[in-house]
Symmetry: C2
Subunit: 238 residues, 2 copies
């Protein structure tokens, strides 16, 4: 198919497709003349994946390019995990060079996370991006005087992470022995799984909040939820 047809098939505008090509997010088509190239179903799939990483996974173009390169590189599964984990781990923050309490605070979170891993028998490399991410949040709670959050959430959070990680790996295993498909499950599931979990957490928080802090009796309870009501929200977000 020509680029205009690739655009129609994927719903992605031609200038955006050209941008994907320039940024290495999309492999070149087969050139049929100096001004024209042919694209195939592999390109349609790739464009859908790129959109998913950018729009649903909220990756930057540079981060998405790294994940795509990992998919194409035939690197071992554990390395693809690492690349995908790193792509979404580093907050797109306005981080500055000094920390709130650089002398003391980092060790609080780092110590708690090291002890947690020891206690649970979690053997991981010290460059796992989750270590610093989790430690930094715990350091922040400490810097804000909110250790009460750490006390309440660290162990249940670790239980939850264990549950989800088991499911993540089960998803990968269910794609075996197709290595390319397993790699795709790793990349997409890792990047988008955070959003899924964040979404489910919000739903469960509200449900739990009603249970713990009931509304006054004269306040109407939420109407029963329908798929149509959720679909309406989806349309609004677009």
């Amino acid at each position: 198919m020509r680029m205009s047809e690739l655009s129609t098939s994927t719903g992605v505008a031609v200038p955006t497709l050209k941008f994907y090509l320039r940024e290495g997010l999309l492999h070149a088509g087969e050139r049929t003349s100096p001004n024209q190239a042919q694209y195939d179903e592999g390109h349609v799939e790739r464009v859908r994946l790129v959109r998913a990483l950018l729009e649903v996974g909220s990756l930057s173009v540079a981060q998405a390019a790294k994940v795509i390169a990992a998919l194409d590189s035939q690197m071992p599964l554990s390395s693809v995990f690492g690349v995908a984990q790193r792509a979404v781990s580093i907050p797109a923050s306005i981080a500055t060079s000094d920390d709130v309490d650089a002398d003391a605070a980092p060790s609080v979170g780092a110590t708690l996370i090291a002890e947690l891993c020891e206690r649970r028998g979690w053997r991981v490399h010290s460059n796992n991006p989750g270590l610093a991410l989790a430690a930094r949040v715990l350091d922040t709670y400490a810097a804000l005087g909110l250790e009460t959050i750490t006390t309440a959430v660290l162990e249940p959070g670790a239980d939850a992470a264990q549950l989800v990680a088991g499911a993540d790996l089960a998803a990968v295993a269910s794609a075996a022995p197709d290595t390319a498909e397993m790699t795709r499950v790793v990349a997409v599931g890792t990047v988008l799984g955070d959003s899924l979990l964040a979404g489910l957490r919000r739903i469960a928080q509200e449900a739990e909040s009603f249970r713990r802090f009931p509304l006054p009796e004269d306040t109407p309870a939420p109407a029963p939820l329908t798929a149509a009501a959720i679909a309406a929200q989806l349309d609004e977000d677009c």
Copy 2:
């Protein structure tokens, strides 16, 4: 204290503090002359909170301003939950006006999420931002032909969310009856909790990955993890 001292106390540069003031992230000091104002411990605390929301929570300035306004507004807890949830729910994406498969796909995820809530007795308002977030991820898996991920992760993900939400609310309850403190726990815990969970998930993924897909025998196992090794990662990230 003067602004220069507020800067020293918090490690935030004076131009950044002025920016916080302009954007409504920091309340004004007490003016002592046309060119000077005095700041107090309340300002130090607020600056730390703003940095946490921006840098660790990766909120945009506009999102952080909404959370700060909610904290200052004395609105009911459930409303602060809503504001904090919304602040981190909407991916900072390059979303376009059309979806990959706008006609059919949204209903797959919306239906799955509505059924999940029904099955688990999760009563929530249809404007809970988690509903659309989770439905969109499931729709994306479907659009990419990766329903295998949905099958493997939806129920364990919901179990995990339930665990974490229970802990989130326990943290809030542990700050009772200090309403201001409960509100702060809701805002900070909601915004930063996603990052903590994402971090723990990465650690558990690698540990689980070694268990399921053992490395060849001649590959050295990860060295035992130390707090110092994690602290070194934290320094690098800064």
